[in-house]
Amino acid sequence: MADFDQELDASGLNCPLPILRAKKTLNAMASGQVLHIVATDPGSVKDFDAFAKQTGNELMESKEDGGKFHFLIKKS
C-alpha cells in the first residue's frame, strides 16, 4: 500500500458513518494529501467509489485484506 498522510479507522461503523468521518477528516487535510481509511462495512466499497467520483477526490486504491476494506483517497 502506498504512503499516506493520515489514517482513519472506521471499523465497526455502518453506513453512512465511514463516509461522513472521511469527509470530516479530509476537510482538515491539505490538497494533495492522502487519507488511508480502514472499514468493515462491505457497502463502503461502492460508497467510497461513488464518494470519490462525486467530490472530485481521487480514490487511489481500494482493496480487501483479511475482512477489512482499505481505501486511499487523495484530497483534490
Binding site: G12, L13, N14, P16, I19, L20, T55
Partner: protein, 159 residues
C-alpha cells in the same frame, strides 16, 4: 459551480422512519449538496430536543421479528402494553451492535454540515407544539417556502 440541491419532506415520526431523512441528508451534505429537510406532521418529532422515538410492529408485516416471534405470536399480542417499548429497546440495541449511528448523532452531523431544518408552521400550530421543545436552528415556514427551495432542487424526496 452551483452546488447540487436536495430537498426532503419528512412526514414520519417513528424511530425507523427517522433514519432515511437524516442518513440521506448527512450523506448528501458530505457530497457537497445543499440540503433542506422540511418536517411536517409526525416528521416534526425529528426536531424535538428529546428524540424519544419508538418503533412499532403493529400494522407492519415487513418488520423482521426476533426469536421467530412473527411465526407464533398472534398479531393482537403485539398490541399488548409494553410491547412497543420492548421492540424499541431491541431495535436500538441491534442498531448499536451493528454500528448504526444514533439519530442524535446523525442529526448533529446534519446540523454541522449546515443542513437546513425547517418545521411546518401549520402543523406546529395544529398540534399545539411548544417551540421551546425543538432544537436550536430550526426555521419555521410553509409550503410556499418549501417550493422556493424544492423548485430549484436536483433531487426531491418525500419520506
Amino acid at each position: 459551480m452551483e452546488p447540487k440541491k436536495l430537498a426532503i419532506i419528512a412526514t414520519k415520526g417513528s424511530l425507523d422512519w427517522a433514519y432515511p431523512p437524516f442518513i440521506l441528508a448527512s450523506t448528501a451534505a458530505a457530497l457537497g449538496y445543499e440540503v433542506q429537510i422540511f418536517c411536517t406532521f409526525y416528521g416534526l418529532q425529528l426536531l424535538k430536543k428529546d428524540l424519544a422515538l419508538e418503533v412499532t410492529p403493529l400494522g407492519n408485516p415487513g418488520m423482521p421479528m426476533p426469536l421467530g416471534m412473527d411465526k407464533w405470536f398472534p398479531v393482537l399480542g403485539l398490541a399488548l402494553p409494553g410491547m412497543q417499548a420492548m421492540m424499541t429497546a431491541m431495535m436500538k440495541k441491534k442498531m448499536k451492535d451493528k454500528g448504526v449511528a444514533s439519530l442524535e448523532m446523525l442529526r448533529e452531523l446534519c446540523q454541522e454540515a449546515e443542513v437546513k431544518l425547517v418545521a411546518c408552521q401549520m402543523t406546529v400550530d395544529l398540534f399545539d407544539m411548544d417551540k421551546s421543545n425543538f432544537i436550536d436552528g430550526v426555521e419555521y415556514a410553509g409550503a410556499a417556502a418549501f417550493f422556493e427551495f424544492a423548485g430549484e432542487s436536483d433531487i426531491c424526496l418525500y419520506i
